[in-house]
Amino acid sequence: MKEDLYDDQYKAKLGRHNPFVDVAAYLFLEDIGDKQGAAGMNNYLMSLATSLAKSMPKEEYSSWDDFMESLLKGESIISSFEDVHCPTENCVVTETCPFTEGWQEYTKRIGEFADIHKEVAEYYNSTVKPGAVDSQCIIHQTFRKAAAERIKVAGKTVKYAQIEAVTPNADEKRAPDEWLPILLNKADITETELNMTMRNNDCVWILYTE
């Protein structure tokens, strides 16, 4: 039964996007931005993502290998919305940003992505953590952080850090220069390898325990 549920056809069906909901959701967020400004919108996005992660079940793994297996299969909450691969034990690569289709539907049906989506990211980068290109990254990165906190591997809570993201309209955001060597060291990749990875993928991040 489980195999039936997770076969490619079924996954494709589950993963199919619904332009109506995606576009309406972006406009809903813009409405909040209009009323509450970048600061209010940022709070809303973070609350949205945290609330989503908290509504999902907690996870426990006995070893890092078990966790990696679940992560790569998309069975872990942290990879339930995106396809990932791991070039090293701690480095995670998102092949396609899960917001890509929604963004494409927006640009196709509404037009250029509203400025507030970038303005809110600037607010997030200066007040929370520098890693977001637009509102979508805020949701995604906040979700990953909150989801990681719900996962334990060998009794230790998983931690998340962002290295680089590129959005569907090709804007990118890399971790600040002073953080990058530390993050790359944890990811066990070089800056050249990061550049090479980003040619064909949308996001590079790390998961680790202390």
Partner: protein, 209 residues
């Protein structure tokens, strides 16, 4: 991901803004979406129906919409003033499936919002998202003209993901369609609505007068 995140907020939103507040929020979302999509003009019903089939109208954002051209809406003179349209799959079905597998359950607030909408606005919602959806259609039709006439959209029937159905007998009477016929359409479609010229003199309306 964005759609699932939004659903996880329904509970939070209805607690903070109240069920009525959630309805107002969703209505505004539907209205904004319709406004931002812009205006359209068609020379006649055939060109509108072809545009719909090819996914070029604002209504196409909802997915696979079929113009039931055997079900024309006629006015008192027998002229065609609109048609009945049917959506194969509710636009929220993929979201609901994703919620089932990633989160586990739909928040109770979903049903509470739908019930409040049915009691206070119109008895046509099977889930809280019907509020956005129906408001969107009603607003977007005002931005579209056929033969220079602005349109009106009337919700006729829908089937929720739980299998519950809503049939809007008042609107069906107005356009002169048998409710049992529309019920049979729900076997193959999730949502049925009429698009007609605003202000058309319909047989049902004439009888009321």
């Amino acid at each position: 991901m964005l759609d699932v995140a939004l659903v996880s907020l329904i509970k939070n939103m209805s607690e903070k803004a109240g069920i009525e507040g959630a309805i107002q929020y969703w209505s505004r979302v539907g209205e904004n979406l319709a406004k931002r999509i812009g205006e359209e003009a068609y020379m006649g019903w055939p060109s509108f129906n072809v545009a719909l089939k090819e996914g070029r109208t604002a209504f196409s954002i909802e997915g696979d919409v079929t113009a039931l051209t055997d079900l024309a809406i006629t006015d008192v003179d027998g002229d065609v003033v609109g048609y009945i349209y049917a959506l194969k799959e509710c636009v929220f079905t993929p979201t609901i499936k994703r919620i089932r597998y990633s989160v586990g359950e739909i928040p109770d607030a979903d049903r509470a919002v739908a019930e409040e909408y049915n009691n206070t606005v119109q008895n046509t919602a099977t889930c809280n998202f019907c509020v956005i959806h129906q408001k969107f259609r009603s607003e977007v039709s005002k931005n579209i003209t056929v033969e220079n006439q602005p349109l009106e959209c009337v919700q006729l029937a829908n089937r929720g993901f739980r299998g519950d159905t809503k049939i809007n007998r008042v609107s069906l009477e107005r356009i002169g369609i048998n409710p049992e016929y529309v019920r049979s359409l729900l076997r193959n479609y999730a949502c049925v609505y009429g698009i007609l010229m605003k202000g058309a003199r319909l047989r049902g309306s004439e009888e009321d007068e």
